[in-house]
Symmetry: C2
Subunit: 229 residues, 2 copies
Amino acid sequence: MAVKMYTPNYLEIPLFQGLDMEEINEVLQKFHGLIKHFPKSDYIYLAGDCVENLCVVLEGTVQMIKEDIWGEKAIIANLGAGSVFAENFLGRLGDRSVVSYFVASDSEVLMLPLGRMLFDSNTNSKASQRLMCNIVSILADNNTRLIEKTEILCKKTLRSKILAYMEQEARNNGSRSFTIPFNRTDLANYLDADRSALTRELARMREEGLIDYRKNTFELKVKEHNEGL
Amino acid sequence: MAVKMYTPNYLEIPLFQGLDMEEINEVLQKFHGLIKHFPKSDYIYLAGDCVENLCVVLEGTVQMIKEDIWGEKAIIANLGAGSVFAENFLGRLGDRSVVSYFVASDSEVLMLPLGRMLFDSNTNSKASQRLMCNIVSILADNNTRLIEKTEILCKKTLRSKILAYMEQEARNNGSRSFTIPFNRTDLANYLDADRSALTRELARMREEGLIDYRKNTFELKVKEHNEGL
DNA sequence: TGGTTTTTGTTGCCAACGCAACATACTTAC
DNA sequence: GTAAGTATGTTGCGTTGGCAACAAAAACCA
């Protein structure tokens, strides 16, 4: 699949944290790991597909999305390099996905056809145990992220959604000023709002001195007080 | 804590699937498992609390909720007997929760202060491995459930939220007719909608012959066609 | 039993925001 | 360069659905 050479940096991937290259290669061989290249706008899985791989974004950006019959897309999660996805099928491999995985920018993805191997293998080796722990951590993290996403969607007004999102980003970046991985259209899709309404509200918030922004870079100017909205 | 005797049915809990009573008792001892009774309307964890236990609902109902400063509650997930919660802290035990866990009906909850033990223990025993696999499955399942919840919230109209929810319930119950675990107020909180608006819309949908219902029992009268809404 | 609380249903009002349509800026290609 | 495509901003209009306030029914309890 990969046309030009691509050399992944396995040691920097959370999934393989704590393993050395030798162990990683073992794992890759044992589970028949395969790197695939996906061009922008491709789909890795479509809603309805059977999922049989654990996937790791090595490079690029993948979006977990839900499309309605008119092609309106809702972005559920944005997955950058290092992210693991389709992990929610670990318990039920082969099941059909209700969401799609969309390639937002040219990506390299490690596909691990785990099957039931993960569960069956007599994993007494240190590496296997470590891998298992990593998987638990990653699953837990993704869980937390989904809960945070839910928190945003729960908000009733557009403004409070925006603020909730901004505060999460500020927290994750450790700064009140940050750059988001979305353009306006995608931000609207992520917040499940209308693009024009979003722009309108952002302008208002800037007027009122709550935030400032230029393109994808935002600055939160307020204290935490308004969070309850 | 427990005033009157309560004997849990450990063998029926997904977390302990595949273990026999002897193994379960080992695990419980090793991790200092503790059963706590919580009366209705209590909080197990409040948003902001440090979480250091993996929790299992043995009896009753617990809700994962997010409250805004006016006490308006949004129900993120409904957790019945057998459900595991606070599992998203496995990777980061001791972190603060952004959501609260609310006791919807008198409950017995198994608290497992896993700490780092789960990761540190040299788990060569068959039981430990099995437990680890169960945890992965459960995490994956909860993940899937959160994604499904997100799907509901993504919908733009109230009617499509209701339909999305109903279709999930129908699927989970394997029948177009089912009883939901919510009263009207809580269903509204679960769908992030206004109670009166919900009642209004339900009435309309009944008029149009889309659904029928009596109290908490609903029947979906339509084919899947309208799902795209 | 009757009173109190909780749950559910009903309705009028109105604003937030989705929608559509268009204007303007920016980006890419040739 | 210019043309085509894409991202962003602006605005008027109209509907959905949130809100509040009340009515009715059901559940609870003393």
